[in-house]
Amino acid sequence: MELEEMKQTWQELSGELEKQKKLTNEIILKMAHEKSKNSLGKMVLFETIGGLGMCMALLVGLLLNMLNGSFQTTPLAVCALLSGALFIFSGYISWDFIAKMKKINLLENSIEESQQNFIALKKASVFYKKVGVWSSLPTMLFFIPVVLKVFIGKDIFTDFAAAKEELFSVIGLSILIAVPMVYFLFRFYSKNMKAAGEAIEQIDEQ
């Protein structure tokens, strides 16, 4: 096939293609929207199950134990209440984060709205990351005595010596689990935020 022959075939094909225009407005916007939706969709699913779902489950477990009278001493009851408050707060954070992610929709919103929503999501992401880091220590302080009471039946406030060994084991285990988990979570969110950001980079930069 010589270049001229190639050119002739190409032009005939071009003519055929021009006749076959099939894209609709919806398909075009869907294509532009798909990538941000995919990345955000992963985060919404993860946050719904791992964030909101986990907080709700912990809160329900805590309430059931409260109703069963598991926390009879005042310090333990305070720890249980503070843990509950932290779960409610964490649940709210997850819910708010999910709501902000769901707001980003290139199909339904204007470019300006998408831009504002993504900026709000990014700000929330940075803020909640800080909150997560700073609240991890108080969460451990309040929640570990509750865990020891619920799962091992020991109250560190009434008999510290008897619960000492388990207390250190739980602290050690928490650190062992928390460090890789936090690393994984940060990576997961950074990666997907970046992907979503790339998809609406133009909006973000305006």
Partner: protein, 162 residues
Amino acid sequence: MNTENAFVETIKENEALIYKVTAVYGNDSEDRKDLYQEIVLQLWKAFEKFKNQSQISTWLYRVALNTAISRLRKTKKEGQMVSFDAGLHVLEDSYDPVLEQRSKDLYQHISMLNDIEKAVILLFLEDKSHQEIAQITGLTVSNVGTRMGRIKEKLKKGIAKV
């Protein structure tokens, strides 16, 4: 006209152009659909930046070809592709059998070229001058001429093989 409407109209007017780029750079039907989506996405991202500094077709070719080439390089590096299904059913109907055979031959010949040469031949086939090809690809005019010479050589050798 708001930005979205303007964008949709631009894509509609130039959908054949995007399809041709996907036909040259895509491996199969699924791959072409993925690439089509990627190009539309990149055009959308760049649309507001495009403030008629250049002709719309020049801008479209540039974005589409850059997307196709970067994606191809990324895919080669990663060795995998992500599947896409956004309800895109375009331009897959067969034409008359003779033209279909000729188009297969055409794409087979183009497939012998490297990434940049594919862009150059595509623009040449689109009847672009060396000057325009240089403007779109970022090559110099003399480099375009040199590459066209190499492409002719490659195609001749390819013809012997085919």
